[in-house]
Symmetry: C2
Subunit: 189 residues, 2 copies
Protein backbone atom coordinates (compact mmCIF):
# COMPACT_ATOMS: atom_id res chain seq x y z
CA UNK A 1 0.00 0.00 0.00
CA UNK A 2 1.51 3.31 -1.06
CA UNK A 3 2.26 5.81 1.66
CA UNK A 4 0.35 9.04 1.80
CA UNK A 5 2.27 11.86 0.16
CA UNK A 6 2.36 13.85 3.41
CA UNK A 7 3.84 10.88 5.27
CA UNK A 8 6.57 10.59 2.67
CA UNK A 9 7.43 14.29 2.99
CA UNK A 10 7.42 14.01 6.75
CA UNK A 11 9.70 11.00 6.59
CA UNK A 12 12.03 12.73 4.15
CA UNK A 13 12.24 15.78 6.41
CA UNK A 14 13.08 13.59 9.38
CA UNK A 15 15.78 11.77 7.43
CA UNK A 16 17.39 15.00 6.27
CA UNK A 17 17.11 16.39 9.82
CA UNK A 18 18.79 13.29 11.24
CA UNK A 19 21.53 13.42 8.61
CA UNK A 20 22.25 17.07 9.49
CA UNK A 21 22.52 16.22 13.19
CA UNK A 22 24.76 13.19 12.62
CA UNK A 23 27.03 15.06 10.21
CA UNK A 24 27.39 18.04 12.53
CA UNK A 25 28.16 15.89 15.55
CA UNK A 26 30.80 14.01 13.55
CA UNK A 27 32.36 17.24 12.25
CA UNK A 28 32.49 18.81 15.72
CA UNK A 29 33.98 15.65 17.21
CA UNK A 30 36.66 15.60 14.49
CA UNK A 31 37.51 19.26 13.98
CA UNK A 32 36.32 21.04 17.12
CA UNK A 33 33.44 23.39 17.71
CA UNK A 34 34.98 26.57 16.34
CA UNK A 35 35.98 25.29 12.93
CA UNK A 36 32.57 23.96 11.90
CA UNK A 37 30.50 26.25 9.67
CA UNK A 38 27.04 26.01 8.12
CA UNK A 39 28.64 25.71 4.64
CA UNK A 40 30.76 22.79 5.75
CA UNK A 41 27.76 21.06 7.31
CA UNK A 42 25.66 21.53 4.17
CA UNK A 43 28.48 20.21 2.00
CA UNK A 44 29.14 17.13 4.13
CA UNK A 45 25.42 16.35 4.49
CA UNK A 46 25.06 16.60 0.72
CA UNK A 47 22.41 19.33 0.72
CA UNK A 48 22.39 22.98 -0.35
CA UNK A 49 23.12 25.76 2.14
CA UNK A 50 19.67 27.25 1.51
CA UNK A 51 18.09 23.91 2.45
CA UNK A 52 20.19 23.68 5.60
CA UNK A 53 18.99 27.14 6.70
CA UNK A 54 15.39 25.93 6.27
CA UNK A 55 16.11 23.39 9.00
CA UNK A 56 18.33 25.32 11.41
CA UNK A 57 19.36 28.95 11.91
CA UNK A 58 22.95 28.25 13.01
CA UNK A 59 25.48 25.66 14.20
CA UNK A 60 24.50 26.10 17.83
CA UNK A 61 20.88 25.39 16.94
CA UNK A 62 21.93 22.15 15.27
CA UNK A 63 24.00 21.11 18.27
CA UNK A 64 21.16 21.80 20.68
CA UNK A 65 18.82 19.70 18.51
CA UNK A 66 21.42 16.94 18.34
CA UNK A 67 21.76 16.97 22.13
CA UNK A 68 17.98 16.97 22.61
CA UNK A 69 17.79 13.83 20.47
CA UNK A 70 20.64 12.33 22.51
CA UNK A 71 18.95 13.11 25.85
CA UNK A 72 15.62 11.76 24.55
CA UNK A 73 17.27 8.47 23.54
CA UNK A 74 18.81 8.11 27.01
CA UNK A 75 15.49 8.82 28.69
CA UNK A 76 13.72 6.31 26.48
CA UNK A 77 16.28 3.65 27.39
CA UNK A 78 15.96 4.42 31.12
CA UNK A 79 12.16 4.44 30.88
CA UNK A 80 12.15 0.99 29.27
CA UNK A 81 14.43 -0.36 32.03
CA UNK A 82 12.19 1.26 34.64
CA UNK A 83 9.01 -0.38 33.34
CA UNK A 84 10.61 -3.60 32.14
CA UNK A 85 10.25 -7.00 33.80
CA UNK A 86 11.58 -8.03 37.19
CA UNK A 87 11.19 -6.94 40.79
CA UNK A 88 11.29 -3.19 41.53
CA UNK A 89 14.69 -3.55 43.23
CA UNK A 90 16.20 -5.18 40.14
CA UNK A 91 14.76 -2.51 37.88
CA UNK A 92 16.15 0.16 40.19
CA UNK A 93 19.64 -1.35 39.92
CA UNK A 94 19.30 -1.53 36.12
CA UNK A 95 18.22 2.12 35.87
CA UNK A 96 21.01 3.31 38.18
CA UNK A 97 23.66 1.29 36.37
CA UNK A 98 22.53 2.63 33.03
CA UNK A 99 22.52 6.21 34.32
CA UNK A 100 25.93 5.66 35.95
CA UNK A 101 27.37 4.57 32.61
CA UNK A 102 25.84 7.64 30.91
CA UNK A 103 27.53 9.88 33.51
CA UNK A 104 30.78 7.98 33.12
CA UNK A 105 30.83 8.37 29.35
CA UNK A 106 29.65 11.96 29.30
CA UNK A 107 32.44 14.03 27.92
CA UNK A 108 33.82 17.04 29.70
CA UNK A 109 34.43 19.13 26.63
CA UNK A 110 33.64 22.69 25.66
CA UNK A 111 30.80 21.19 23.63
CA UNK A 112 29.37 19.52 26.73
CA UNK A 113 29.69 22.76 28.70
CA UNK A 114 27.81 24.61 25.95
CA UNK A 115 25.07 22.01 25.65
CA UNK A 116 24.49 21.41 29.33
CA UNK A 117 23.45 25.01 29.84
CA UNK A 118 20.35 24.38 27.73
CA UNK A 119 16.78 24.38 28.95
CA UNK A 120 16.16 20.93 27.42
CA UNK A 121 18.68 19.54 29.93
CA UNK A 122 16.71 20.69 32.96
CA UNK A 123 13.57 19.31 31.30
CA UNK A 124 15.41 16.01 30.81
CA UNK A 125 16.63 16.04 34.41
CA UNK A 126 13.11 16.68 35.60
CA UNK A 127 11.81 13.71 33.59
CA UNK A 128 14.61 11.53 34.92
CA UNK A 129 13.86 12.57 38.49
CA UNK A 130 10.18 11.73 38.04
CA UNK A 131 10.99 8.37 36.48
CA UNK A 132 13.27 7.51 39.37
CA UNK A 133 10.90 8.78 42.02
CA UNK A 134 8.09 6.60 40.62
CA UNK A 135 10.33 3.55 40.65
CA UNK A 136 11.48 4.31 44.20
CA UNK A 137 7.86 4.45 45.36
CA UNK A 138 7.40 0.94 43.96
CA UNK A 139 10.61 -0.19 45.69
CA UNK A 140 9.45 1.21 49.03
CA UNK A 141 6.14 -0.65 48.64
CA UNK A 142 8.03 -3.83 47.82
CA UNK A 143 10.14 -3.34 50.97
CA UNK A 144 13.40 -2.99 49.01
CA UNK A 145 13.99 0.66 49.83
CA UNK A 146 13.89 2.55 53.14
CA UNK A 147 10.69 4.40 53.96
CA UNK A 148 12.11 6.91 56.45
CA UNK A 149 13.22 9.29 53.68
CA UNK A 150 10.81 10.53 50.99
CA UNK A 151 11.30 8.96 47.53
CA UNK A 152 11.79 12.45 46.06
CA UNK A 153 14.74 13.08 48.36
CA UNK A 154 16.16 9.66 47.58
CA UNK A 155 15.88 10.42 43.87
CA UNK A 156 17.86 13.64 44.41
CA UNK A 157 20.48 11.68 46.37
CA UNK A 158 20.78 9.01 43.64
CA UNK A 159 21.12 11.41 40.77
CA UNK A 160 23.85 13.40 42.48
CA UNK A 161 25.70 10.37 43.84
CA UNK A 162 25.82 8.81 40.37
CA UNK A 163 27.31 11.90 38.73
CA UNK A 164 30.44 10.75 40.60
CA UNK A 165 30.72 8.20 37.76
CA UNK A 166 32.12 11.01 35.62
CA UNK A 167 35.23 11.08 37.84
CA UNK A 168 35.71 7.33 38.05
CA UNK A 169 38.34 5.52 36.00
CA UNK A 170 36.36 2.55 34.63
CA UNK A 171 33.11 0.58 34.48
CA UNK A 172 33.98 -1.63 37.47
CA UNK A 173 34.30 1.47 39.61
CA UNK A 174 30.92 2.64 38.25
CA UNK A 175 29.35 -0.67 39.28
CA UNK A 176 30.79 -0.31 42.79
CA UNK A 177 29.40 3.23 42.93
CA UNK A 178 25.95 1.90 42.03
CA UNK A 179 26.16 -0.69 44.84
CA UNK A 180 27.23 1.92 47.40
CA UNK A 181 24.44 4.25 46.24
CA UNK A 182 21.88 1.42 46.46
CA UNK A 183 23.16 0.43 49.92
CA UNK A 184 22.40 3.95 51.11
CA UNK A 185 18.74 3.42 50.22
CA UNK A 186 18.18 -0.09 51.55
CA UNK A 187 15.29 -0.72 53.91
CA UNK A 188 16.60 -0.33 57.46
CA UNK A 189 18.08 -3.38 59.08
CA UNK B 1 57.26 44.80 73.25
CA UNK B 2 56.89 46.90 70.11
CA UNK B 3 56.21 45.07 66.91
CA UNK B 4 58.81 45.04 64.21
CA UNK B 5 58.06 47.68 61.60
CA UNK B 6 57.79 45.05 58.85
CA UNK B 7 55.21 43.09 60.89
CA UNK B 8 53.15 46.21 61.30
CA UNK B 9 53.21 46.90 57.57
CA UNK B 10 52.32 43.30 56.84
CA UNK B 11 49.42 43.46 59.28
CA UNK B 12 48.21 46.75 57.83
CA UNK B 13 48.30 45.32 54.30
CA UNK B 14 46.30 42.30 55.43
CA UNK B 15 43.71 44.49 57.13
CA UNK B 16 43.29 46.67 54.05
CA UNK B 17 43.14 43.56 51.85
CA UNK B 18 40.43 42.04 54.06
CA UNK B 19 38.48 45.31 54.08
CA UNK B 20 38.55 45.42 50.27
CA UNK B 21 37.26 41.84 50.03
CA UNK B 22 34.49 42.38 52.60
CA UNK B 23 33.38 45.65 51.03
CA UNK B 24 33.31 44.19 47.51
CA UNK B 25 31.35 41.11 48.59
CA UNK B 26 28.81 43.34 50.36
CA UNK B 27 28.49 45.65 47.33
CA UNK B 28 28.01 42.75 44.92
CA UNK B 29 25.45 41.10 47.21
CA UNK B 30 23.54 44.39 47.44
CA UNK B 31 23.79 45.85 43.94
CA UNK B 32 24.70 42.93 41.68
CA UNK B 33 27.89 42.07 39.89
CA UNK B 34 27.58 44.42 36.95
CA UNK B 35 27.04 47.66 38.85
CA UNK B 36 30.12 47.39 41.07
CA UNK B 37 33.16 49.40 39.93
CA UNK B 38 36.69 49.84 41.27
CA UNK B 39 35.88 53.49 42.13
CA UNK B 40 32.88 52.43 44.17
CA UNK B 41 34.89 49.78 45.99
CA UNK B 42 37.69 52.26 46.81
CA UNK B 43 35.18 54.80 48.06
CA UNK B 44 33.27 52.34 50.27
CA UNK B 45 36.48 50.84 51.64
CA UNK B 46 37.73 54.33 52.47
CA UNK B 47 40.93 54.15 50.43
CA UNK B 48 42.11 55.91 47.27
CA UNK B 49 41.62 54.33 43.85
CA UNK B 50 45.38 54.28 43.29
CA UNK B 51 45.80 52.27 46.51
CA UNK B 52 43.08 49.84 45.47
CA UNK B 53 44.87 49.17 42.18
CA UNK B 54 48.03 48.34 44.12
CA UNK B 55 46.09 45.46 45.65
CA UNK B 56 43.97 44.19 42.76
CA UNK B 57 43.84 44.77 38.99
CA UNK B 58 40.05 44.58 38.65
CA UNK B 59 36.74 43.62 40.27
CA UNK B 60 36.98 40.02 39.09
CA UNK B 61 40.41 39.72 40.72
CA UNK B 62 38.91 40.92 44.01
CA UNK B 63 36.04 38.45 43.78
CA UNK B 64 38.35 35.54 43.06
CA UNK B 65 40.48 36.52 46.10
CA UNK B 66 37.33 36.82 48.20
CA UNK B 67 36.21 33.36 47.11
CA UNK B 68 39.65 31.88 47.78
CA UNK B 69 39.46 33.20 51.33
CA UNK B 70 35.94 31.77 51.62
CA UNK B 71 37.00 28.30 50.37
CA UNK B 72 40.06 28.37 52.67
CA UNK B 73 37.84 29.12 55.68
CA UNK B 74 35.53 26.20 54.80
CA UNK B 75 38.48 23.84 54.39
CA UNK B 76 39.95 24.95 57.71
CA UNK B 77 36.64 24.25 59.43
CA UNK B 78 36.32 20.80 57.81
CA UNK B 79 39.96 20.00 58.66
CA UNK B 80 39.37 20.84 62.33
CA UNK B 81 36.29 18.58 62.39
CA UNK B 82 38.26 15.84 60.66
CA UNK B 83 41.07 15.87 63.21
CA UNK B 84 38.95 16.80 66.22
CA UNK B 85 38.04 14.47 69.09
CA UNK B 86 35.78 11.42 68.89
CA UNK B 87 35.67 8.14 67.01
CA UNK B 88 36.44 8.21 63.28
CA UNK B 89 32.78 7.46 62.45
CA UNK B 90 31.60 10.46 64.46
CA UNK B 91 34.14 12.74 62.84
CA UNK B 92 33.06 11.45 59.42
CA UNK B 93 29.45 12.35 60.19
CA UNK B 94 30.52 15.81 61.41
CA UNK B 95 32.57 16.49 58.27
CA UNK B 96 29.79 15.29 55.95
CA UNK B 97 27.15 17.32 57.76
CA UNK B 98 29.25 20.42 57.61
CA UNK B 99 29.96 19.93 53.91
CA UNK B 100 26.28 19.21 53.29
CA UNK B 101 25.34 22.53 54.88
CA UNK B 102 27.97 24.31 52.77
CA UNK B 103 26.44 22.78 49.62
CA UNK B 104 22.96 23.64 50.82
CA UNK B 105 23.81 27.29 51.43
CA UNK B 106 25.90 27.73 48.32
CA UNK B 107 24.15 30.23 46.15
CA UNK B 108 23.28 29.54 42.56
CA UNK B 109 23.92 33.03 41.27
CA UNK B 110 25.82 34.47 38.35
CA UNK B 111 28.52 35.28 40.89
CA UNK B 112 28.76 31.63 41.93
CA UNK B 113 28.90 30.54 38.29
CA UNK B 114 31.74 32.99 37.68
CA UNK B 115 33.69 31.98 40.76
CA UNK B 116 33.28 28.23 40.47
CA UNK B 117 35.11 28.20 37.17
CA UNK B 118 38.31 29.20 38.94
CA UNK B 119 41.39 27.07 39.38
CA UNK B 120 41.37 27.64 43.14
CA UNK B 121 38.10 25.69 43.27
CA UNK B 122 39.61 22.53 41.83
CA UNK B 123 42.54 22.97 44.22
CA UNK B 124 40.04 23.26 47.08
CA UNK B 125 38.13 20.21 45.84
CA UNK B 126 41.36 18.26 45.68
CA UNK B 127 42.21 19.21 49.28
CA UNK B 128 38.71 18.28 50.39
CA UNK B 129 38.92 14.92 48.64
CA UNK B 130 42.25 14.18 50.34
CA UNK B 131 40.92 15.22 53.73
CA UNK B 132 37.92 12.94 53.32
CA UNK B 133 39.93 10.05 51.94
CA UNK B 134 42.28 10.16 54.95
CA UNK B 135 39.35 10.14 57.34
CA UNK B 136 37.72 7.25 55.46
CA UNK B 137 40.91 5.21 55.80
CA UNK B 138 40.67 5.71 59.57
CA UNK B 139 36.99 4.72 59.49
CA UNK B 140 37.75 1.53 57.55
CA UNK B 141 40.43 0.64 60.11
CA UNK B 142 37.96 1.29 62.92
CA UNK B 143 35.45 -1.01 61.20
CA UNK B 144 32.90 1.79 60.68
CA UNK B 145 33.16 1.90 56.91
CA UNK B 146 33.05 -0.86 54.28
CA UNK B 147 36.40 -2.15 53.01
CA UNK B 148 35.20 -3.60 49.69
CA UNK B 149 35.41 -0.22 47.93
CA UNK B 150 38.57 1.91 47.99
CA UNK B 151 38.43 4.99 50.25
CA UNK B 152 39.22 7.21 47.26
CA UNK B 153 36.13 5.96 45.42
CA UNK B 154 34.04 6.40 48.56
CA UNK B 155 35.31 9.98 48.87
CA UNK B 156 34.20 10.64 45.28
CA UNK B 157 30.79 9.11 46.05
CA UNK B 158 30.37 11.24 49.21
CA UNK B 159 31.32 14.52 47.63
CA UNK B 160 28.93 14.04 44.73
CA UNK B 161 26.08 12.65 46.85
CA UNK B 162 26.28 15.64 49.19
CA UNK B 163 26.07 18.20 46.39
CA UNK B 164 22.42 17.06 46.33
CA UNK B 165 22.07 19.30 49.41
CA UNK B 166 21.98 22.26 47.03
CA UNK B 167 18.59 21.01 45.72
CA UNK B 168 17.08 20.20 49.12
CA UNK B 169 14.57 22.50 50.80
CA UNK B 170 15.93 22.65 54.37
CA UNK B 171 18.47 21.52 56.93
CA UNK B 172 16.42 18.50 58.04
CA UNK B 173 16.51 17.20 54.49
CA UNK B 174 20.28 17.79 54.47
CA UNK B 175 20.63 15.72 57.66
CA UNK B 176 18.63 12.89 56.08
CA UNK B 177 20.87 13.08 53.01
CA UNK B 178 23.93 12.74 55.23
CA UNK B 179 22.43 9.63 56.89
CA UNK B 180 21.59 8.04 53.54
CA UNK B 181 25.10 8.84 52.25
CA UNK B 182 26.67 7.37 55.40
CA UNK B 183 24.47 4.25 55.16
CA UNK B 184 25.88 3.63 51.68
CA UNK B 185 29.36 3.38 53.19
CA UNK B 186 28.66 1.27 56.29
CA UNK B 187 30.70 -1.87 56.88
CA UNK B 188 28.80 -4.76 55.31
CA UNK B 189 26.25 -6.47 57.47
Amino acid sequence: MPKLWSDTIEEHRREVGDAILDTTAALVAKHGLRSVTMSRIAEETGIGRATLYKYYPDVEGILVAWHERHVAAHLERLASLRSGGGAPGERLRAVLESFGVICHERQRTELAALLHRGEHVSRGEQQLRELLQGLLVECVEAGDVRDDVAPGELATYCLHALTAAGSLPNRSAVRRLVEVTLDGMRASR
